[in-house]
Amino acid sequence: MVDLNRLFWENDVDTNTVLGARMGRPTTVATLGKRLLPAIVSISLSLPLLLPGTAPAADLTFSSKTYGLSYERELPGGEKNQYAPLYEYLSADAANLGGKPVSLHFYGWGRVDLAEESGSGKTSGEIGSLYMEYRHPQGNAQAKLGRFFLTEGAAMETIDGAFVKTTTPLGLGVSVYGGAPVEYSILSGTEGGSSLYGGRVFFVRAGFAELGASYLKENGMFQEGKDRELIGGDLWLRVAPPVEFTAQATYNRSVGEMASQRYAVRIVPGANFDISAGYESYTYKGLFQATLNPAFVSPVVDIGDGVQTIFGVVDWAFVPGWTLEVAGKNIRHDKSDPGDADRGEVGVRYSYNDKKDVAGLSAAFVSADREENEYQEYRGFASYSPSRLRLTLDAITQRYKQEINGRKNQYQVVATAGYQLLAALQISGNLTYTQSPTFEEDYAGLVRLTYDLSTSTGGKK
């Protein structure tokens, strides 16, 4: 069996964690589909080389983010361990290969521990994406090959495979995809899926409506020993110029249960005001059927439960630079445990210094049927970026109605300072202070080195 991640970051050690508990290495799914991965990667990498004049015409973007962390954790028994994980995140994109609308994308990260093991083993890492993309100049037709993150109808997956999408002159469109799912199981007895395929048919009329129906099938042994088979529907409808209606529903055919539904009305009369309200629901049985995390199976959750939510959000730029944000939701459960709850939130943001800096204050509350679910949250933050220097301060506190580990509150303050050494190179550092039910008193440090390089103007954020 071949696992791309393991080719780059070999890691066979099961060991203790940041909090001192035993922890297993997540099982990386390695199946027949995964055996094809090296071939897919090789093809993806070699295709650009077939295009004449690739290097001179290419539009290259490269980003490296290095994070060095330092913190201490107390283990059961009072012993203290020092941790110093070093993370490297790399992202590279080469577009316009050979003067054609072909691009190559890479994103991945790796960790090496300079002190005690901070996670599962001394090293870890992952190839997040590595794929080639063709974007047709017309009709938004496109194709992807390799490892990529995909959102299409019922699908929100990372797969090793292929994706094709096109729209016809009539406004009818189709997308299909297939490959091996990239999943990580920590659920005993379930490794995840071996293959995944699906597609979406849709009708779109520019500026008026988009209506889609989708299908997804993942072969594997999930809950109840079944595959994952989803049927989805989605709608975006502009009822009137400032009013739009969105709907999204997914039916889990494997367990014969509606997985999730979301319906919302949104009004955007201009650039200063945006309001949305809607209804959302899901059933644990339908939504969590293909989980690979024990947090979503019995006995941690009651699989017979379901959630219905009514929500509303307002974003109002009431004065240039000032924005008011108000959000609220009513959450109802089928079961009395955990019971129902209301969450409200209000915040104000002020952007200044030509939008380079933002300051904000916010308050949130959760009132619930059960006291154990009630808390309040207050947060304030600000940044200051004169010339090459950047300073930020972020403070948050949460107050719980019921004690957790003997405490009713937590505080965290994050202060950062950064300096732009070169146009493409920035160094910055965080100092984090925490008091919480987990930490009596905790200091953590982080040094961040960011290098961004692009051979052309234009935006990648």
Binding site: V18, M23, G24, R25, T61, H105, Y107, S120, E126, Q138, G139, N140, A141, Q142, F148, E152, M156, T158, T167, T168, L172, V174, E183, I186, S188, G192, G199, E210, W236, P242, T246, G270, Y284, T291, L292, N293, A295, T309, I331, P338, G360, V366, A368, N373, Y375, E377, T392, D394, I396, Q410, Q412, T416, T434, S436, T438, L446, R448, G459, K460, K461
Partner: protein, 156 residues
Amino acid sequence: MTRRVNIVPFFRAALLALLFGCSAVSQAPSVPPKHPEDLPPGRVDCLECHNDVSSGTLKPYASVRHSRVFIDSHGTYARQGQNLCSSCHAPAFCQTCHAGKEELKPNVKTGDRPDLRAPHRGDYLVTHRIDGRLDPGSCFRCHGNKSDSRCKQCHR
């Protein structure tokens, strides 16, 4: 006895009809793969420069202005297509949160950008017990099958 209808043949037939019956690709220009202008810092409001319908989403630019409303519901729009998103966002942007076996919380990685709506601020190890009880569906989107091995410390 309940008989399940096999929908796969219908789906395949629909695909074939679309591919061969309407084989021509729409002549409407695609959205550029890369936004031609440098983007300003902070939250982008497309309406500052655009006031028509995006060729990427075929929706008005007002629908994708990056307000709190849009950020909270961006998945609804992304599930109908990612072309417009990827004009400005590299794949790495989405995978800052929608990662596989990520170990660093998004707000730790973006600690120098407190203006971002990065989830899990504070000691979220504590608060996730409440949020997870009340709305586990919101956790599932990122942690359902793209798990952090740290979950296994307690969830066995």
